[in-house]
Symmetry: C2
Subunit: 202 residues, 2 copies
DNA sequence: CATCACAATGACCAACGAGTCAGTATATCG
DNA sequence: CGATATACTGACTCGTTGGTCATTGTGATG
């Protein structure tokens, strides 16, 4: 247990900064957000931000990555512990919808980042893209396995995985925009029902 | 027929500028794109841009709006001229996939704009949002009608309309990212199949 | 060819914001 | 308490870029 005091302060400031960054980036988007505003919300001076992160980009990736990894881990865990393919698909959708419901700011940043992936191709964001594709792969493998077992009809599993991914995003977006008057559980069942009927046997 | 000469030149320059803007915005995104770069690609001086559009924002909306209206009109027309609900849903998906395939730069801008809709809420982009919701409504009404006729099972038509919308976007994205090795027609059939099975009777 | 109207230009300006750093406050310790 | 170290501050720098406008080019007209 080295420098406990220093570490505690660092951890505290880091969390404070990332939380503020999350709020500001979610509200303004990356380009419109300013370091001054993040500092204001975090309750520190602008210079302090640079004691903990070397640049605006780094704060952004840190804020995004933290939640992204958490969500990826939760999804993997829930999907793994589900028994059947049906339950795995359900778990995938439910986990994501629940997590985004609790982390709306994160979803805003995430969603806008996905939108930007088509511009600036080849540039940064490799980490982000990898995680994204890995998530799709989890679903892809569930589907492949299900097809082999004839639990679902033969189908292009990779394209379907993407589609289910986007179906989930679609529901979250509807909720965030206030376009869904249904409860979270109702939305989960709705999405799963649509998906399962779409890929199901008949 | 007034000032023909002037009108022709104006039309020519306008088209040239919008095309250049479309390319640059698609590549860089709104914030990263510079007026200097748009001017360079259009083959004019920066000042010339301001003879035809009052601001960067205006060029952006003009470039986006032009294609957006065209797509909306095409979709409406194709859906209307289809006979059954099944054919209407098919027409909706096919029209969009085909249009985006031919206007990839437009799709990039469109997609990134959708991503930004969750940030900056309440601000500009009202036109854009209206058109977006109107497109969903077209599909919603097709579904409502189909439910009444019992052509599909009873279902939350508004949420489903959104979901089909995003399913379509999902396929386009896969194509643009080079993740789909299928032909355009195959992707259309795939998307339609998935959708129709999902909402179908059994 | 001279004149004129206006389209086009690009050097310039002002605003803005990321990142810096000399100075200040605060904590630690002998 | 005084000395030293370190966390923090915010005024400043400096590159970038949207937008302007005095000047230049062009083509029509008499």
């Amino acid at each position: 247990m080295p420098r406990t005091k220093k570490d505690v302060v660092t951890e505290f400031r880091t969390a404070e900064i990332l939380q503020a960054a999350c709020r500001v980036f979610a509200e303004q988007g990356f380009e419109q957000a300013t370091m001054a505003e993040i500092a204001r919300v975090a309750g520190v001076a602008k210079g302090t931000l640079y004691l903990y992160y070397p640049s605006k980009q780094d704060i952004y990736w840190a804020a995004l990555g933290r939640s992204l990894l958490e969500l990826a881990a939760a999804t993997r865990s829930q999907v793994e512990s589900a028994a059947t393919a049906e339950q795995k698909v359900h778990a995938f959708i439910a986990t994501k919808l629940r997590y985004f419901e609790e982390h709306r700011d994160f979803f805003r940043i995430y969603y806008s980042e996905v939108g930007r992936a088509l511009c600036r191709h080849g540039q940064a964001a490799r980490q982000f893209d990898d995680l994204y594709l890995e998530q799709v792969k989890v679903l892809d493998q569930v589907l492949q396995h299900a097809v082999r077992r004839k639990a679902i009809r033969p189908i292009r599993t990779d394209a379907t995985a993407f589609a289910l991914f986007d179906l989930t995003r679609s529901l979250v977006t509807q909720r965030l925009r206030g376009l869904s008057r249904a409860s979270l559980d109702e939305d989960i069942e709705f999405a799963f029902d649509l998906a399962w009927k779409g890929i199901g046997h008949r």
